[in-house]
């Protein structure tokens, strides 16, 4: 197991590095590869345009994309293990929408012209994610199980509810902001300042640790709660921990990048095809694989229509929605 994990991580890590190198050379600023190399080698003044573009914009944006993608993919693995349902994912479950509502409330609570307070906004997002997740849990649970139809329907309903709650809130408070918020709701990776990146990384690490430490228990849970109980596992406690951690991961991504869909669906499934269902392999590789996937999507979003930009959430949904349909059709017998 350990050897497979190490080799899978090494392979995915190399892929991530390759994509990151590509991403730092690409951008609407059209810097030559030599210029980029010179900046990376420290050969450009801190106040030069090249320095600002490469180290001030591209590098923090790459870091944010990798963090967000990793967090979403791990949250996906967590929700899928928790509900024993392969289609569970932060945006499908409506948890992203709940977090988005919380984030908007947090921003409005900030008062006039206040500096973007990363921690406060993330905390509100976390609250929203917990409420939305708990609502889906209560609506969808039938004798402790989550049949696919009720789970998806509950997720869709809760997602629609919180999505419209955001619009209602903005329309009531300040219609001038609606345009900006609508763009934000599509999901966008931004070059975050170092302080925000640090907060983001800490939250992601916390969520990741909470889920990876329960990977073995998640494997046992997959056999059913009766089996878990016989093996001495406190299923309720494990499930609560996974739920809170996945909500934390989701809400941190929403707070720093907006609601981005389908990463938590596509990446875990790709990895399951390659590595099998063992969560001890899936959770760590999802962190790296998710980062790689979202970085590719964001590099497309940055460059496809330069100097304009696309929302990265549009790119992930463009790939994710057909993938979702594919899973729904092919896995029907299993679900």
């Amino acid at each position: 197991m350990t050897r497979r994990l190490v080799s899978a991580l090494a392979l995915l890590g190399a892929l991530l590095l390759g994509v990151a190198v590509l991403a730092i050379f690409l951008g609407s600023a059209r810097l030559s590869p030599l210029t980029v190399l010179r900046v990376l080698g420290g050969g450009a003044g801190a106040e030069s345009t090249e320095h600002v573009v490469v180290l001030g914009l591209r590098l923090p944006r790459i870091a944010a994309a990798v963090l967000a993608g990793g967090a979403l993919a791990v949250a996906g693995v967590g929700f899928q293990g928790l509900t024993r349902n392969p289609l569970a994912e932060p945006s499908v479950l409506g948890v992203s929408a709940g977090a988005a509502f919380g984030v908007v409330v947090g921003q409005l609570a900030g008062g006039s012209g206040a500096v973007f307070d990363a921690v406060r906004v993330a905390a509100f997002g976390f609250g929203g994610a917990l409420v939305a997740g708990a609502a889906v849990y209560l609506i969808a649970s039938v004798h402790g199980a989550f049949p696919i139809q009720t789970l998806l329907l509950a997720g869709v309903i809760v997602g629609i509810f919180f999505g419209s709650a955001v619009t209602v809130l903005i329309s009531l408070v300040d219609i001038d902001r609606l345009g900006g918020v609508v763009h934000w709701l599509l999901g966008n990776i931004a070059p975050l300042p170092a302080r925000s990146l640090l907060v983001f990384a800490c939250l992601a690490a916390l969520g990741f640790a909470a889920i990876v430490s329960q990977a073995r228990e998640l494997n046992v849970l997959a056999l059913g709660e009766e089996a878990a109980r016989q093996l001495g596992i406190n299923a309720e406690r494990v499930k609560a921990q996974i739920f809170v951690a996945a909500a934390l991961l989701t809400s941190s991504v929403v707070a720093f990048a907006g609601p981005i869909g389908f990463v938590g669906l596509i990446v875990p499934h790709m990895l399951r095809l390659l590595l099998g269902p063992d969560n001890r392999l899936l959770v760590p590789t999802a962190m790296v694989g998710g980062g790689t996937f979202l970085l590719i999507a964001d590099t497309i979003a940055r460059n496809a229509v330069a100097p304009a930009e696309l929302s990265v959430g549009i790119i992930t949904s463009f790939f994710g929605a057909p993938f979702f349909v594919y899973l729904l059709r092919t896995r029907r017998g299993v679900l």
Binding site: V52, V53, R177, G179
Partner: protein, 296 residues
């Protein structure tokens, strides 16, 4: 350049003043649709904050019987009954106000509102403006609808005089490259279709996003940095729940001439984002932010 833009505005004013008033019963709105009115409208509902401001500026508010929640200027407008928001106004409330005509816009109201009102037999008159010349056209049309043509000449004269004053004040100075940030995250900027782009030109600046497609597109920060803006203007959004204007985010981009010379300014978006009479205040505010040296 500034002389030429001022001349363009002047020409537009002259053309608009010279245009003959439309017929009393059938008028053509700005979408080119024929709108049949029973007679000169005595009861008007405005679903457009800019139009509400213009009706007050023309002194035609006696005929205004309804407005939206967002028609908050002039303050007196808030005393008129509201029919709700711009996106989904209450059709019932509009109907009970028995308007002879409803003023609506294609950017902000929904097509569904247009069709529902017409099904109820309430005429809808559409307005829109992406240029100052079009704003003057909206003004002229509203003057006709409210029977306030007499107020046009002094109103236009005032607008023209103030725009000329700005043009004269900024003319001696070189035109800096301006980045106007409509929304910081994701970055939204005014492009070729935006009224703001023309206002920035009138205020003596060169918008670095003037030639992009659309009205208010998303834009790459990288591309903005490479175009080295000398002035950055961060729009605040009206009410006291203004979003973070993220000044610190721009100040971290040390290579920008605007940052080096400390010319990153907040600007009141409610002045420049609506095509009402306060657009002139918007041009003056923009000019003061872009050329503080001209107003000492």
């Amino acid at each position: 350049m500034p002389g030429r833009t001022a001349a363009t505005v002047s020409l537009a004013v002259a053309l608009v003043l010279a245009a003959a008033p439309a017929g009393a019963l059938t008028v053509v709105d700005m979408l080119g649709r024929e709108v049949r009115l029973p007679g000169p409208p005595r009861r008007i509902v405005s679903l457009v904050p800019s139009a509400t401001e213009l009706i007050y500026a023309l002194g035609g508010e006696d005929r205004l019987v309804g407005r939206t929640d967002f028609c908050d200027y002039p303050p007196a407008a808030k005393e008129k009954p509201s029919v709700g928001g711009m996106i989904s106004p209450s059709l019932e409330t509009i109907a009970t106000l028995k308007p002879d005509v409803v003023i609506a816009t294609t950017s902000g109201n929904r097509l569904e509102t247009f069709t529902r009102l017409e099904q109820l037999g309430i005429p809808v008159y559409a307005v829109h403006a992406h240029r100052i010349a079009e704003m003057l056209d909206v003004t002229r049309r509203l003057a006709e609808l409210t029977g306030r043509q007499a107020a046009l000449t002094p109103l236009f004269a005032g607008i023209e005089r103030r725009l000329f004053a700005v043009a004269n004040a900024v003319r001696p100075y070189p035109r800096p490259r301006v980045l106007y940030v409509l929304w910081p995250e994701p970055l939204l900027v005014p492009a070729s279709g935006a009224l703001l782009t023309e206002l920035i030109t009138l205020a003596g600046g060169d918008s670095i996003t003037a030639n992009e497609r659309g009205d208010y597109p998303r834009f790459s920060i990288e591309a903005a940095v490479v175009r080295a803006p000398e002035v950055i203007l961060l729009a605040s959004h009206g009410s006291n729940s203004a979003p973070p204007i993220a000044k610190d985010k721009w100040e971290r981009l040390a290579s920008l001439p605007a940052v080096k010379s400390k010319r990153v300014h907040a600007i009141d978006g409610s002045l420049a984002h609506r095509y009402g009479p306060r657009v002139v205040d918007g041009v003056e505010a923009l000019a003061r932010a872009i050329h503080p040296e001209a107003f000492r």
